[in-house]
């Protein structure tokens, strides 16, 4: 029987280590052949914003290339690539949260939805993990 894991994320980029852990869980699950749904809520809708750019570090005097600054959109993109067919990663941003934050311009593959989608995802999944801000 196919397994499916749903994860709800709420933290904005670069706030907490929980986002990194969540992405590690998503990656590990996909590599095991488990389908994954991510419902990004509140600040987490900005994880996939297309206009994110890496930056140099003027304090250390490093260039953009030397700094290799990671952006969360690239993490999301790589996870979507990993889950592009079977197993599949479905990434849904909460539409109301998107509108509030003006976070409309996101990378390809990220969908817009509502808490009703989260309910459907959770009800169709083997398990659901909610990672709250607190």
């Amino acid at each position: 029987m196919e397994k499916r894991l749903t994860i709800a994320l709420m933290d904005a980029p670069y706030e907490k280590a929980a986002t990194t852990t969540a992405m590690r869980i998503v990656s590990a699950a996909l590599k095991k052949g488990i389908h994954v749904n991510v419902f990004a809520y509140e600040g987490a809708v900005t994880l996939a914003m297309k206009d994110q750019v890496p930056h140099a570090n003027p304090v250390k005097g490093t260039t953009v290339e030397q700094e290799e600054h990671p952006t969360t959109k690239e993490f999301v993109r790589s996870l979507l690539e990993l889950g592009k067919s079977n197993p599949q990663l479905t990434w849904v941003n909460c539409g109301l949260c998107v509108d509030e934050r003006g976070a409309i311009n996101v990378i390809d593959g990220v969908k817009r939805g509502s808490p009703a989608d989260f309910l459907k995802m959770a009800s169709e999944s083997t398990n659901t993990l909610v990672i709250p801000t607190r």
């Binding site: 397994k3 894991l5 280590a17 590690r24 590599k31 488990i34 398990n127 993990l129 990672i131």
Partner: protein
């Protein structure tokens, strides 16, 4: 009987409510459930023997399985010799295996 997986991300020195999680996990174990506490991020700081405020001894006495994320341990430079002997290191793969078991409740803290 159910399976419970508590993912503890909080440092016991920063968040007093880590003891609430330990109480809950121990109570569920006493009621006959399979209970695992998976330490991750700053939660792994509790796995050190010298961590006086840790609730882990309570979990060990209750028979709760305690795992610690090896990546979080490496990030914090914690050496294997510093650990409680009852703590087992685990990969994020093992966490995924635990939470996709049937009849399992996964709780992030």
């Amino acid at each position: 009987m159910s399976n419970y997986v508590f993912i503890e991300s909080r440092d016991p020195f920063e968040s007093a409510d880590t003891s609430f999680l330990a109480d809950t996990a121990a109570s569920l174990k006493k009621r006959g459930n399979n209970v695992t506490v998976f330490l991750v991020q700053n939660g792994v700081l509790a796995a050190r023997r010298q961590a006086r405020k840790s609730s882990l001894p309570q979990l060990f006495e209750s028979g709760v399985t305690v795992l610690a994320d090896e990546f979080s341990i490496r990030e914090r430079g914690i050496q294997s010799g510093e650990f409680h002997t009852s703590v087992k290191t685990a990969s994020i793969d093992q966490l995924v295996d635990l939470i996709v078991q049937e009849n399992t409740k996964a709780v992030w803290h």
